[in-house]
Every structure is written in structure tokens, then in C-alpha cells.
Symmetry: C2
Subunit: 418 residues, 2 copies
């Protein structure tokens, strides 16, 4: 059977099964997720045997230690997958919620009710735990899911899929609600991306290359997250000790993630005091500073920044620093170089905090808090399927609700249109 036909059949099974999972009660969906967690815990050995094949192949190919680490299904990783499923089971179910209901002059009542999207395709790289995490979120929100991980984790992903299928079978549900694409053939992704009649949404999780490939080749809507070039603007009226604490947390706590700080903007009246202070703290924490001309004058230890530094997502202990004349210059810099991810202002000025919230249209805009809170769990969405930095459908961290849409319901008693 050709890959094209295989993917077509797989997607047809998902479409068929999506009608079943869309109609399940929260109770049944929660029981399924609980059962899936138990199945993971009672199959640790099976999972680790499959995982060993991937690890072995990775080592043979000379995979970097960090990559091997991400690939490994250690006991704690499996336990946290099970725990994650239980946490999603405990979250409120968005499906069925009526968000607003109103009455028209002719007496019909009109409401908007949340329903699942249908079939969701997840295309991801290396970390096999995504298989269980994404499956839990898609199923809880009433969607069928197709999972396509990287070839380097193929055995692990297949094993996780098989183990989760035990729970699905125990609950007498159709296997099509959760399918792992069991081939490493690249064309499987290309074929899936054509199936707009069967699949409602594609979420790519991985590097910029994967995301660009998926979005350029897909006829299905794609939720994109290209990069996180996060800015923090320290205003003249900031509490400098608070600003130092926040900026350090944003840059240093976990520099390799998309909500880490990449460019620090400092008001010119704050710069003479705040720049030497933050430079000392950052340098002590091992951060390399790349400053604009004014910043370098105030802190001669800084490396002069070039034009390439402003749009850079370092994902490393490097920070670009720019002194700005006022809020407008900071805003224009963010508009020009930002990635619509997360921007923060540190200020004690009420009016300015409100202007920042209003005039900066990134997906997450913060006052006096660390950009590291910009993720689904920290913001209180319960869990996160991804972050969207494009505005359609969802913008910012995405939880269960973002895996649903709303239909209109109309309740009449015989009304017709005159």
C-alpha cells in the first residue's frame, strides 16, 4: 500500500472516530485518561525496551548528549507522562459550554456552544513524551488525534501508542481516536498535510525548520509558533530592585526556552543607575551583554551590538541591551523586531502601564511580572498544547479551550423569517 493511501485510510479512520469522541461525556473521557495513565505505569518495561532501540540508533548516529537525554523514557519521564494525563483528566471540560445566550426580538434564543474541532494532527520532533501529552489534551477536548513524531523516536512513539491503545480497547472505544503514524517515511507528513477534508487542524511542535515546512506544505489550517524574541522595557519610574529580579529571572532561570528574555530596553533616565546594576548581576550569572552605543558608554564591558542582535532569539546566556528615549521608542523597537510572543514593562507609573497593555499587541503583555510566566500552565490554562504567535484562531499559549470551536444554537417555537 502506498504511503498516500495509507495516510488517507488513517485519516478516514480518525474522521469516523472523531464523531464518537466528540459525543463522549466528560466522565467517560476522564476515565479514559486515567486508564491511559495506568497503562503507561504498568508497561514501563515494554516502553523502555522500545526506547532502548531508539537510544541505540541515536548513539550509533552520534546524536548529541542533550538530544539523547530528551529522547530517553526514564522512569521519572514515564511517571510524569502518567501524571500529566491525570492532571488533564482533572481539568474542566470545555465541550458543551454555552458562552452567552441572548433573545432576539422575535423570541428565538441564540447561543454559542463549544464543540470539538474534529481531527487534530500533531507533527513533532524528538521528545516522545509529547505523544502522551498531546493525546491527552486532544482527547479531553473531544478530538480524534493523529500523532507523527520524529524518526529518531519511532520505536518509542509506536510503543506509547500501543500502550495507550490498551486503555482505548478496555473502554470499548474505536482505535481511530488515537493513531501514531508508524513509518519514518518523510512523505507521510506531506501526505497528511493534503487531507483537508479529514483533518481540521495541524499543530507542529519543534524547531523553526519543521514549522516552516509544515505551514508551507499544508492545505489544512496550521497553528504556528515561529520564535520568541521577548522584550522587557524598564521604565524611568521602575522599582530598580524589582526590575533586576524580574530581568534576571527572565534571562537566567531557563535561557533555552521561548519565553526567556532576549532584548532589554531601558529608558534613558533609568539607564545611568539601572544599567550598571543589571550588568553586574547579569555578568555574575554568566550572561554576555551586547549593548547599543549608549549602553556601551555607560557599561564599557558590554560588547557593541550589531543590527543582527535586535531580531535574535539567542536561547542562550546572551542579552541584547538598548537604551531608548521614551516609551514610544521602546514600542516602535518591539513592533519592528518582536515576534508577537511576550513583552513586559517594569514601571510604577499607572498611566504608562495601561498604555503598554493597550499599545503592545503581542500575544502576552505583562506589567511587573516575569516573562517566564508566559506558558499555559503558569497562566492557569491547566496545560498547554502549544503557543501561537499568529493571530488566527488562537494567539498565545493554547489550552483545552483552544482545541474547540463554537457553533450557534437557536431555540425557537415556530418562528419564520418575514
Amino acid at each position: 500500500m502506498s504511503i498516500a493511501v495509507e495516510m488517507q485510510e488513517l485519516a478516514n479512520r480518525a474522521r469516523e472516530a472523531s464523531r464518537i469522541v466528540a459525543g463522549l461525556s466528560s466522565g467517560v473521557k476522564n476515565e479514559l485518561l486515567q486508564q491511559m495513565a495506568v497503562c503507561l505505569e504498568t508497561n514501563v518495561e515494554v516502553l523502555q525496551q522500545a526506547n532502548a532501540l531508539d537510544l541505540q540508533a541515536g548513539r550509533a548516529k552520534g546524536m548529541a548528549a542533550a538530544m539523547l537525554d530528551r529522547l530517553e523514557l526514564s522512569d521519572p519521564v514515564i511517571e510524569s507522562m502518567a501524571e500529566g494525563l491525570r492532571e488533564v483528566a482533572a481539568l474542566p471540560d470545555p465541550v458543551g459550554e454555552v458562552t452567552g445566550m441572548w433573545v432576539r426580538p422575535n423570541g428565538i434564543r441564540v447561543g454559542r456552544q463549544r464543540i470539538p474541532l474534529g481531527v487534530i494532527g500533531i507533527v513533532y520532533e524528538s521528545r516522545p513524551n509529547v505523544t502522551a501529552d498531546a493525546a491527552g489534551l486532544c482527547l479531553k477536548s473531544g478530538n480524534a488525534v493523529i500523532l507523527r513524531g520524529g524518526s529518531e523516536a519511532l520505536h518509542s512513539n509506536r510503543a506509547i501508542g500501543a500502550v495507550l491503545q490498551q486503555a482505548i480497547a478496555e473502554m470499548d472505544l474505536p482505535a481511530g481516536i488515537l493513531q501514531v503514524v508508524a513509518t519514518s517515511d518523510r512523505s507521510a507528513v506531506t501526505e497528511l498535510l493534503k487531507l483537508e477534508e479529514q483533518i481540521d487542524l495541524i499543530i507542529p511542535r519543534g524547531g523553526e525548520g519543521l514549522i516552516r515546512f509544515v505551514s508551507e506544505n499544508s492545505r489544512i489550517p496550521v497553528i504556528k509558533h515561529y520564535k520568541g524574541v521577548c522584550h522587557t522595557y524598564v521604565d524611568a519610574a521602575a522599582d530598580f530592585s524589582m526590575a533586576e529580579k524580574i530581568c534576571l529571572n527572565e534571562k537566567v532561570q531557563r535561557p533555552g526556552v521561548c519565553n526567556a528574555l532576549e532584548t532589554l530596553l531601558v529608558h534613558r533616565d533609568a539607564a545611568p543607575v539601572f544599567l550598571p546594576q543589571i550588568a553586574t548581576a547579569m555578568t555574575k550569572a554568566g550572561v554576555e551583554l551586547r549593548g547599543c552605543e549608549t549602553a556601551c558608554q555607560l557599561v564599557p564591558e558590554m560588547i557593541p551590538a550589531t543590527e543582527e542582535d535586535w531580531p535574535a532569539e539567542y536561547l542562550d546566556l546572551i542579552l541584547a541591551v538598548k537604551v531608548v528615549a521614551d516609551f514610544e521608542e521602546a514600542r516602535d523597537h518591539i513592533n519592528r523586531y518582536g515576534s508577537l510572543h511576550t513583552e513586559t514593562i517594569v514601571t510604577c507609573d499607572y498611566a504608562l502601564s495601561q498604555r503598554f497593555l493597550r499599545e503592545i499587541n503581542s500575544s502576552v503583555v505583562m506589567v511587573n511580572a516575569s516573562s517566564r510566566f508566559s506558558d499555559g500552565g503558569q497562566l492557569g490554562l491547566g496545560a498547554e498544547i502549544g503557543i501561537s504567535t499568529t493571530k488566527l484562531h488562537s494567539f498565545g499559549p493554547m489550552g483545552l479551550e483552544d482545541l474547540t470551536t463554537r457553533k450557534f444554537i437557536v431555540l425557537g417555537d415556530g418562528q419564520i423569517r418575514e
Copy 2:
């Protein structure tokens, strides 16, 4: 200048201007729309002179009378464009609304606030009044708009654009907030559809050919509305007099629109009484009936339906009729042949009405009301920019709110992530 460069510059102007329009208060936006209405009314002659050129060219090309009618900017059409702008001015502004705000255990407050999408491109056919209607909705929701009408209305659209620009100039706003593509070159559309960095959303309005062309060639998200194959299911427990009134209204009141009834499903216990009754009424109203085998047995005047009738969007005085064994068969028929537009049940059975609402996941699902209410104005959205029959971003009739997205706002007092 090449078309590609021209479109790029136009889109850059829109992107630049979108920051201005996003920041305007409701008061200023309403004044702009009011001013635009006045400009239309004081330029009737200018508009009709330009329109005459299009009408003349249309007649010379042998355009059908109905098409010429749609193309004409008569006094009442211009007045209704002005009135439409005033109605949109009077609607509540969705921008700035905070939909939910909660507090996290660490004290940060998290909310979701509505913001404009940015730049919206409208690609449409023939009716020049869309130019003013769509512009009003996009501007009121804080977006810059690029309008690309059909070549047969080029002079009219250009003239409307120029007249609306007078209002924009009077308010000292940048011209880039509203631009009419002033060339009939087809490649202008193809070029626009590539500009994903500048344009946030494309809404095609027109026939299925236009919509397919746009969605297959666009790298920008597209809101699609392919067709409306609406079903009404008359249950055994229906009030047949209500059912007759509703079905007639759905089929006859305006058969050429997407929310008209195309397939009538009748429970087999209702069929012996209801089918002859509705057949008499429909035939009297000039409707041709195409029935399944059972329907034809009950009403021998019906034409036997073929497989082509079930997915057909007639947009005409033709109705497909099928007798079904139960709700499940009706539901499966709708799932198989429906277009996710609008489905209606007529029943007095409470439990069944709830099942219909729950198990039919079309964009509009109705109990005991005419499908003709399935439009933005009738449902109470105030106005309609289009109808989406795909689930991402919006599903169903789209009003002002659907031209916005939500960002997260976070209010802290120095919190960092531990």
C-alpha cells in the same frame, strides 16, 4: 512598477496604518464611519458616473440582466451603503473587551483582551456595495483593510474607495487604513495572497470557484464558506402545521441564498401524513420535489431522487426529500452530505431536541425555527462579514467580534518564576 512590487507596497502601507487604526477609540472610529456615510451621500453623482462605465462595459460584454442589476449603484443602493455604515457605527466595539480575568496562586492576575487582527484582505465579486460594507466592519473592529473587487466593477469600486478616502482625510487618518486595489490584473490577487507578513486574514466573498482559488493559492489564513446544503428534519413528534410553515419559509422565501433548505428529512412515522401535506404546499409554491423511493410511494408526483440530489446545493425552487427510519439515520445523512452550514429539527420531543443540538455539529443548529435566520444580522451579531463553514477561528456567521483575536494580559507586582 511591477504588480508584485505594487502589492507589496500597498500591503506595507496597510501594515503601517493598522497600528494607527488599532489604537483609535470607539468614538473616533464611529465618527469616521458616520463621516464615510455622509461622503457617500454627497457624492452620488460621482459614484453613478463611475458606475455607468462598468454598466456600459457589462452590457457590451452581454452581461446577464441579474448581474447588471447586482452591479448597479442606484440611489437606494448608495443610501443603503450609507445606512449600513451608520448601523455598524452604532454597534458595540469589541476591541479592548476583557473576556475573563483570574488570579493565580502567586498573585498575578491574568486576563484575555480583544485586539484587532491587523490587516484584513477582502476578495470579492461583482456587487460594489461590498466595498463600503466590508470597509465599515473592518475599520470598526480596528483593522486596516485591503479591498479587491471584481474587474467588472473596477470603476465603481475605485470611486467608492476615493469617496471614503475623503472621510479618512477629513479625520486626519492615514490613507493606508482602507485601500482599494485599483487594477483589474488578476495577478494582483495572487501577489496579495503571498504577503503573509503583512496581511493577517483573507476573506473571499463570492462563488465556490473564487473561494477555491483563494484558499488554494493563499499562504495567509483564509475564512472559507464553500456552500450551504441545509437540512431540516421533521420528527414524528413534530407539530406538522409548524413544520409546514418552517419548511416553506426555508425553501421559498429566498431560494437563491446559502441558508435556504435543500434537503428535507422526514421520520417514517410522520411521512404518511406530513409528506402529502408539505408536497401540496411546496408544489403550490412552485417547488419541484425529488424524493427517495419511500417518499415517491407516498407522493407519486415526486420525481425520483438520484445520488446527485443528496449533496446538491440547488439555490433554486427544488427540494430533495428523504424518509428516514429514525433520528440516527437523519444524523448520519447530515454527516455524510451536509456542508456544516445550518440544520434544523422540528419536534415537540424535548429529549430529541437536546440530542439534535448535541449531536449535529454544523455551524448553526436550530430547533423549531427557520434556517433563514442563519445570518449575522438575524442572529443578533449586528452585521455580517461572511459565514465560515470551516471550524478554525470562526464557525458560522461572522460579526465584528470575529474580526478580532485575544491577547493575554498579566498584571503582577514583581512576581518571578521559582
